[in-house]
Amino acid sequence: MTAPAGKTIAEKILSAHAGTDARAGDIVVADVDFVMGQDGTSPLAIRALERMGVEKVFDPAKVALVIDHSSPSPVEGVSALHTQMREFGKRTGAKIYDVGCGVCHQLIPENGHVVPGDLMVGCDSHTCTYGALNVFSTGVGSTDGAAAMASGKLWFKVPETMRFTLSGQLPAGVFSKDVILHIAGLIGADGATYMALEFDGPAIDAMSVEARMTMSNMAIEVGAKAGLMRADAKTLAWFEGRGTRTPAPVEPDPDAVYAVTHSIDLSELVPQVAKPHSVDNVSPIAEVEGTPIQQGFVGTCTNGRLEDLGIAAGILAGRTVHPDVRFIVAPASKRIYLDAMAAGYIQTLVEAGAAVVTPGCGPCVGTHNGVPSDGENVISTANRNFKGRMGNSNAFVYLGSPATVAASVIEGRITDPRKYFEGGAR
C-alpha cells in the first residue's frame, strides 16, 4: 500500500478549514478566518444580506469594509454608498476603514486581520495579495462575500497548483514587478485559470515581504485563484506587532502533486512593461523605450508600499519631473504615508514635482485623482491596463515597476531605469 501523495499549500489550508482531507478537484465548505469588502462591492453585499434576511455578521471582529476605491467621494452617488457602508458598520459592529486609511489589500494584513495559515475571502479580485503572507486569500463577488459574512463559511473548489521555482539574483534595477509581468507574458491572461500558484525558490527567499506581495497581487492577472508562498523568518518578523493572532505557517509537502511546474532563472531578466490594453501584452523595456508619456502613477495594492515609494524617491532625489508630465503618487495606507514622510520620501517626491493624493485606489480604477485625456499615454505601477481602466477609453496605459515609472517621468518617455542603479544593487 502506498501512502497518499503529499499536499500543496492550497490543499493543506483548505483541508484544515473544511475539516476534511481535501484534494485538488474536491468541493468543500470551509470556515473562513476573515471577510473583506470595498466600496465598489460592499453595497451589493449589504443588499444581498438584506435580501437573505440576515441582520448580523457571523463575527464582527472578522469582517471589515474598506472605503478605498472612490475615496474621498468624488460625487454624491458614491457618497450615498459610503453612507450605507458606515451605517452597516454601526449596525453590525463590522470594522469600517474610512477615507484616508488606505487600500484594502494593505490594511487587512497591516492591521493583523490575517496571519499565515489563514483562509480569507474578499470582495475584490486582488484579494490574492495575501498569498505572499502564506494566507489562502481569494477574490469573490458580493453575494459570495455576503454568504461568508452571514455564515463564516464559503464553498470552494480545491484548486490544482502551478508551481514556480525562481532562482538567480535579480539584476540591479529589476524588481519583483518585472518578474510577475514576465510571468504574465509567459503564460498569458488565462494561463492559470482555476489554479493556485505557488512561488518558491532562492529568488523569492531573497525578496522583501513587500516585493513578494507585488507578485501574489497579480496572480489574478493570469486567472489564478491564489498566489501562495511559504512563510519564512521575514514573513513572521513582518507580522510582529500587527495584531494578536498567532501565525500557523503552512508548508507544501515535498511530494505534493503539481499540475504544472516552471523553473525560471531571473539573473538575466530586464525591466518588463505591459503594453495597452492587456496585462499579458508584455515586452522587454527596450521595445517600448522612448514612447512619450503624459502621466506617471506610483501607488496601488501592487506597488504603493514603503519600499516602492523609496525606490521612486531614490531615483527622483535631486531631479525633476518632466514639464509635460503629471506625476501622481498614492501611498497604499496612512501608515505607509507616515513612514514615507519620516523617511523623507514624500518630501523628495513632492520637491521633484509629484502630486501626492489620499491613500486609495482612485487613479488605478478610473474613479478620480488622475483620469487621463484622449490619446494620452500613462505609465503606472498598477496591475491592470485594460482599455478604459483609468477612466478614459481613449487613453493608453503601460505597466511597469516603480523604478521604471520614476525614470520615465523624469524624461517624459518610457525609460529603462537601470542607469540609475549602475554601480551595484540598491
Partner: protein, 166 residues
C-alpha cells in the same frame, strides 16, 4: 430549462471592465440604469441590440476576466442577456453568474455566428444552432452550482436553507 434567442458574438479575454466600466459601477447600485452601459467598451450598441428581444452573449476563451464586480453579470441580466456561452470563463465571473442567476455555458463557440438562432437546453447539456442545424454538447454544471442555480441563486439558497446546504 430551454432558452431560445439570437447569438451576439464577441471575442476572447473580455474583461469585467468592458462588461461594465468602473466609471459607472462605483457610482450607483441601480442595475437598470447601469445596464445601458453593458459591454459599452466593445460595442456601444449592445443594450440597444439585445434588450428588446433578449439574446445570448457568445464569446471565446476567458470570458469575464479581471475584477470581482458582481455588477458584471447583473448588468447582463438587466440588458436581457439570457445566458453567456463561451469556450472558457474566468473563475470569479463564473461564480458570480451562478450566484446571481445568469446561466453560463462552457462550450465550443467557434461554429456559432452572429445572428444565429440558438436554443440552450441546460438540463440536456445541448446548444442547438437552429440556423445551422447543428447540436453542440456541453458538460453539465457541477452539482453544487446546479443546486445554487436551481434554487434561484445564492441569496435564495440561503433564504431556503438558512445557510449552505450543499
Amino acid at each position: 430549462m430551454k432558452l431560445t434567442a439570437r447569438a451576439f458574438k464577441y471575442g476572447s479575454d473580455i474583461n469585467t471592465d468592458y462588461i461594465i466600466s468602473g466609471k459607472y459601477k462605483f457610482k450607483s447600485n441601480d442595475m437598470e440604469a447601469m445596464a445601458v452601459h453593458a459591454m459599452e467598451e466593445l460595442d456601444p450598441d449592445y443594450y440597444a441590440k439585445v434588450s428588446p428581444e433578449g439574446g445570448f452573449l457568445v464569446a471565446g476563451t476567458n470570458f469575464g476576466m479581471g475584477s470581482s464586480r458582481e455588477q458584471a453579470p447583473l448588468v447582463l441580466i438587466h440588458s436581457n442577456t439570457k445566458a453567456v456561452l463561451a469556450k472558457s470563463f474566468a473563475r470569479i465571473f463564473y461564480r458570480n453568474a451562478i450566484n446571481t442567476g445568469l446561466p453560463v455555458v462552457e462550450c465550443d463557440t467557434d461554429l456559432m455566428d452572429e445572428g444565429d438562432e440558438l436554443e440552450v437546453d441546460l438540463e440536456a447539456g445541448i446548444v442547438r444552432d437552429l440556423t445551422k442545424g447543428t447540436d453542440i454538447p456541453f458538460p453539465p454544471l457541477p452539482p453544487v452550482m446546479a443546486t445554487l442555480l436551481a434554487d434561484g441563486g445564492l441569496v435564495e439558497h440561503f433564504k431556503k436553507h438558512g445557510g449552505f446546504a450543499l
